[in-house]
């Protein structure tokens, strides 16, 4: 298997992981909005309310930075990083 194919396979794996996490916090949990409602979430907000106004949003921010770092590692591993960038 060529270096490029391996690189792409790892990249695709990372994409699927990222999209799976994204799916859980943008779609999955809201299937259970009514069920989560009686649970108390962080800072004392009802859990559903907390996810819609802070939780999911914050998780997306962290997810993107995590994804960017992982992807950089993959690029480094196969020697596909750009030269001379900051």
């Amino acid at each position: 298997m060529s270096k490029q194919t391996q690189h792409w396979e790892k990249t695709r794996g990372l994409l699927f992981t990222t999209l799976a996490i994204w799916f859980v916090f943008s779609i999955g949990i809201f299937l259970f909005g009514a069920e989560m409602e009686s649970v108390t979430g962080p800072f004392g907000y009802p859990l559903t309310y907390w996810f819609t106004c802070q939780g999911s949003l914050g998780i997306f921010v962290i997810l993107i930075f995590w994804f960017a770092n992982r992807q950089e590692k993959i690029d480094e591993e196969f020697g596909f990083t750009e030269r001379g960038d900051d």
């Binding site: 999209l19 259970f32 800072f43 960038d85």
Partner: protein, 603 residues
């Protein structure tokens, strides 16, 4: 004071700018104490900030195609994040979002999830690859990846339909704010707004827009957060509202139980001015079906990843790596405002409806409420209304009506903050609407000048001539947008949501599959764009003209239907026709790794 090259000095330049802006706010506050009228303060805020943007726009003037189209590809990650956040957060986010949450609660908050979650798709599916491609515009990618003038042309059509729907709403918003702050009729204010917008982008193109958007972000985030923190502290709700409003949210729930949601008679509701609404839905409780929530969020997420004015911001970063990080920073800066909107809605609602607070009006006598200064002001502006439907002389929850905009615009005044804050909020709203309008007009003008004129009509045109065409188009599109905005056909928020649906119907799958599916070919992409856009538009018209719709897809989520048609037709047609040639396959391989030259090279 500043030595060396501009890019290296960015933190210093914007640090000084932020300090200067805070200084200006303090001067205005002192002015207010010394008796400046509220009208003068409003004019000063809008005029001062717009003048600054115009100066930045002038200093960024350029005659180079690279600088005009992609800001020279040297915008650092964090600053590009701020510029994208300003580009992204429109008048709708700034002025209308908190109001929507105030009135519709949970069901509406699907927009918060949708307008942030989309960035995960941008970061993982598209932005880094399009950056590697090295294109100037989104249709540039479609045209080169799939080949042929028809595919490029269709991408331009989708881009124009989506962005133009969006931009009329933004010019409308600038006009609304300019007319209130400068006290001139809306029909003229629209053009004042337009000229301010063009001052930023006309001379410097993307470079001018980038540096004004950073400046506009700073203004709008200060203007949004300062009142939220101030009101929270003043009410004694907690010094850091985001972490400390659980009691307030619970208290609203209690009050809702206590008052109940009384349904008004249709005849009574007829007397309420158009556009105003009462509180009829629970504040924090789940009030929408899972599918209603998820379909709206999904449509907004896929729309985010297809809107060209956002995507093109990531063409300006120095590298592929920087493009990825920059998406994260964009979302961080957006998060600061979006996570505050529900807090503002909570504070605003509680201060109005809680009888135990001095600002609460529910339970007071109607005559008493009608005598309040701020009530009279906002009633005159057609944003507030009370009426004694049941004739008991006391104001009930179902007898109080407010416009969506009033939540952001009026809450500082209701909570008893000085007028200087209201002036600041006007400047922030103006910044939000202007920055988005600039990004959109530039996206349309660039697509028309680069893809339609240069790539299709006259491939031999000189750079100077291309840039003249680009600027002429910028002005023409701006005026067309302003003319339509002056007719006031649709509301701000509705047309923004439609823009997302149009973009996802026509562009989401052609863009994503262009990178992730090598087998996708020209015929498939053409079918995907054309059928996606047509079926999406058809569904919208059908539902608007009394159609019942299916699968719970409404006029706000018609993009789900459009993009499904787009996906199916693109896959089927691609598989029925021959695979792309070896050169195209190789191009896709190159796009998938960050190293090496960009596909389009230096133009």
């Amino acid at each position: 004071m500043i030595k060396g090259n501009f890019i290296d000095n960015l933190p210093k330049v914007y640090g000084i700018y932020t300090g200067g802006f805070i200084g200006f706010i303090i001067i205005m506050a002192i002015g207010e104490q010394m008796g400046m009228t509220s009208k003068t303060i409003g004019i000063c805020f809008v005029a001062f900030t717009v003048a600054i943007y115009a100066i930045i726009g002038y200093l960024s003037r350029t005659a180079q195609a690279d600088a005009y189209y992609v800001a020279g590809r040297q915008v650092p990650t964090v600053f590009n994040g701020m510029a994208t956040a300003a580009d992204w957060m429109s008048g709708a986010s700034f002025v209308a979002m908190a109001g929507g949450i105030y009135f519709k609660g949970y069901g509406y908050m699907a927009l918060l999830v949708g307008w942030t979650g989309g960035y995960v798709l941008v970061a993982s599916l598209l932005a880094p690859y399009l950056r590697k491609f090295g294109c100037y515009t989104v249709p540039d990618f479609i045209g080169t990846r799939y080949g042929g003038n028809l595919s490029r042309f269709l991408a331009v059509v989708v881009l124009t339909v989506a962005s133009f729907t969006y931009v009329t709403a933004q010019i409308n918003a600038t006009g609304t704010i300019a007319s209130v702050a400068l006290d001139i009729p809306f029909q003229y204010a629209v053009y004042v707004g337009l000229i301010s917008i063009l001052l930023c982008s006309m001379l410097g193109g993307m470079r001018g827009v980038t540096w004004t958007q950073v400046a506009q972000y700073i203004v709008l985030i200060i203007a949004y957060l300062l009142p939220v923190f101030w009101i929270s502290n003043k009410m004694g709700a907690g010094f850091f509202p985001h972490f400390m409003l659980a009691d307030e949210v619970a208290r609203i729930g209690e009050l809702e139980q206590q008052f109940g949601f009384v349904k008004n008679a249709a005849a009574d509701l007829k007397t309420v001015p158009k556009g105003l609404a009462g509180i009829t839905k629970a504040h924090s409780a789940v009030n929408a079906t899972p599918w209603a929530f998820i379909s709206l969020a999904l449509a907004m997420m896929m729309g985010t990843a297809s809107l060209p004015h956002v995507m093109m911001r990531y063409f300006t970063t120095p590298s592929v790596k920087a493009a990825r990080k920059s998406v994260g920073w964009s979302l961080f800066f957006i998060f600061l405002l979006y996570s505050s909107a529900p807090m503002l809605a909570t504070l605003s609602k509680l201060s109005l409806i809680d009888p135990s607070l001095p600002t609460g009006i529910i339970g007071k006598s109607i005559a008493e409420v009608q005598a309040i200064d701020w009530y009279q002001n906002w009633n005159q502006a057609d944003l507030m209304f009370v009426s004694d439907f049941n004739g008991n002389g006391t104001l009930e929850l179902n007898e109080f009506f407010m416009g969506g905009k009033a939540v952001v615009l009026a809450t500082p005044e209701i909570a008893g903050l000085p007028y200087v804050i209201s002036g600041l909020v006007a400047a922030g709203g103006m910044a939000a609407a202007m920055s988005t309008a600039d990004g959109l007009i530039l996206a349309i003008a660039n697509a028309l000048s680069h893809d339609l004129y240069y790539k299709i009509i006259d491939p031999k045109a000189e750079t100077a001539k291309r840039l003249v065409v680009a600027r002429v188009l910028l002005v023409v599109i701006g005026f067309a947008g302003a003319t339509i905005a002056a007719m006031e056909i649709q509301g701000i928020l509705g047309s923004v949501i439609w823009a997302f649906d149009f973009a996802m119907s026509g562009l989401f799958f052609p863009l994503v599959l262009g990178v992730w599916w090598k087998r996708a070919n020209r015929e498939g992409a053409i079918a995907g764009m054309a059928l996606g856009l047509i079926s999406g538009a058809w569904y919208l018209i059908w539902v608007r003209t009394g159609g019942s719709g299916f699968l719970g897809i409404t006029q706000l989520t018609f993009g789900i239907f459009g993009s499904a048609v787009s996906l199916v037709s693109m896959v089927v047609v691609s598989l029925m026709t021959s695979a792309p040639n070896a050169a195209t396959q190789k191009m896709v391989d190159e796009v998938r790794v960050p190293s090496g030259r960009s596909i389009l090279g230096k133009q």
